[in-house]
């Protein structure tokens, strides 16, 4: 594609694409390249140099005011896409914020240095979700897909690791509440990321929901039997901690579950998105 430099036409293109903030970077680049190719076609037919400022000025006059062209281009893309991209960006900020709150409140709540490994896991998963979103607001490439391919199994393995030693979960320790949110988040994240990587799952959203809900319910059910993870049991655990630490534990638990629920809802919603029309090569 033609390079965009400091020429008058390049400046004009930048003004046009300034109206297209809701489009993906790939879409904006395509529009710029297309208009640049149009300039070159016109110059070629007229036997002129596309870099000639007079030629570029004539083309700019033909295309019309940059803000008007940009506005018309923006209208060409559906409100659904506009809201989708804005919505994803808002969700990304919310995910980051809630994940950071979760990561910070955990050690403050438990006051145990060993608990730092939990926030580190939470921050890492937050970053992973940011990468997932970035894939949908920008063109996916091989390293993002490779990272997602690694993260999905990794999160599932981490959840299985926490679930296996059931005997340790019988201890009446408050970090079990954090384990519950972490495990739920791991299940949601792992399946969600595999859904991103497996295009055929987008055509069968019911298939995705059924095993996910079954797994989550079975996990919550068994954990509640073993450690009584019910509101009364949780409050007893919080009473055992007491004071401000208990409040931080509660805040950590709530943000962890909220983070997992919103993440799961958003990731599952990807399976209902209309697949992008394939672009011919």
């Amino acid at each position: 594609m033609a390079e965009h430099d400091g020429s008058p036409f390049a400046g004009y293109l930048r003004q046009v694409t300034a109206q297209l903030a809701h489009l993906t970077p790939a879409q904006r680049t395509r529009i710029m390249d297309e208009l640049q190719a149009h300039l070159e076609d016109a110059a070629s037919e007229q036997g002129r140099d596309p870099a000639d400022p007079a030629m570029q000025a004539a083309m700019i006059r033909t295309l019309g005011p940059a803000h008007k062209l940009g506005r018309e281009m923006a209208r060409a893309y559906s409100r659904e896409q506009q809201m989708s991209v804005l919505g994803w960006r808002f969700w990304l900020l919310w995910t980051l914020g809630s994940g950071l709150v979760w990561a910070i409140t955990s050690p403050l709540g438990y006051g145990d240095g060993t608990m730092w490994r939990m926030p580190m896991s939470g921050v890492l998963m937050t970053l992973l979700h940011i990468l997932i979103l970035q894939q949908h607001v920008a063109q996916a490439n091989w390293w993002r897909r490779g990272l997602l391919g690694f993260c999905g199994p990794w999160l599932i393995a981490m959840v299985v690791y926490w679930l296996l030693p059931w005997e340790s979960f019988t201890e009446a320790r408050a970090e079990l509440t954090l384990f519950a949110s972490l495990a739920a988040l791991g299940i949601i994240s792992g399946i969600g990321q595999w859904a991103v990587l497996r295009p055929f799952l987008r055509a069968a959203p019911v298939w995705l929901v059924v095993p996910f809900v079954t797994l989550l319910l079975s996990f919550m059910g068994e954990l509640s039997v073993n450690v009584r993870l019910i509101p009364l049991g949780m409050m007893r655990q919080l009473d055992a901690i007491g004071g401000w630490a208990g409040m931080f534990v509660l805040l950590s638990f709530l943000f962890g579950l909220l983070y997992g629920a919103i993440s799961g809802t958003a990731l599952l919603a990807l399976t209902w998105r209309r697949p992008a029309r394939p672009q011919p090569a």
């Binding site: 594609m1 033609a2 395509r30 529009i31 390249d33 297309e34 208009l35 190719a37 149009h38 070159e40 076609d41 016109a42 037919e45 033909t62 295309l63 019309g64 008007k68 062209l69 018309e72 281009m73 209208r75 060409a76 893309y77 559906s78 029309r277 672009q279 011919p280 090569a281």
Partner: protein, 110 residues
């Protein structure tokens, strides 16, 4: 072209684009030239209107685009009708014909 003609062209631009693409893929500058040729200079498409129309049609699934290299190796964006666009074109042309007949009827009565 007068302002009223520009407004009329704006309203029929999508139909013109779909008709141009009926038999072969075209790129933007080619469409501008082709309209001028076929209309014997009577119609002049503004590029500032053409590209938004092309992108609108692509978003609605009536056309699709692809890059194809020119002789000098630089890529150029071509457009062609999709199956959906090909199916919709006769109806749109019929609508336009009906509109023309209706307007003619009013003008003749006047």
């Amino acid at each position: 072209m007068s302002a009223p003609q520009r407004e009329l062209l704006k309203g029929s631009l999508e139909l013109i684009v779909l008709t141009l693409l009926e038999h072969e893929p075209m790129y933007g500058y080619q469409m501008v030239k082709e309209v001028g040729t076929r209309s014997a200079g009577g119609l002049q498409i503004k590029e500032g209107s053409l590209y938004p129309a092309l992108h609108r049609l692509e978003q609605t699934g009536l056309v699709e685009s692809f890059w194809q290299p020119r002789q000098d190796g630089v890529n150029r964006r071509y457009y062609r009708l999709t199956a959906q666009g090909r199916a919709a074109l006769p109806a749109r042309q019929a609508e336009w014909q009906s509109y023309i007949v209706a307007v003619q009827g009013v003008l003749q009565h006047g």
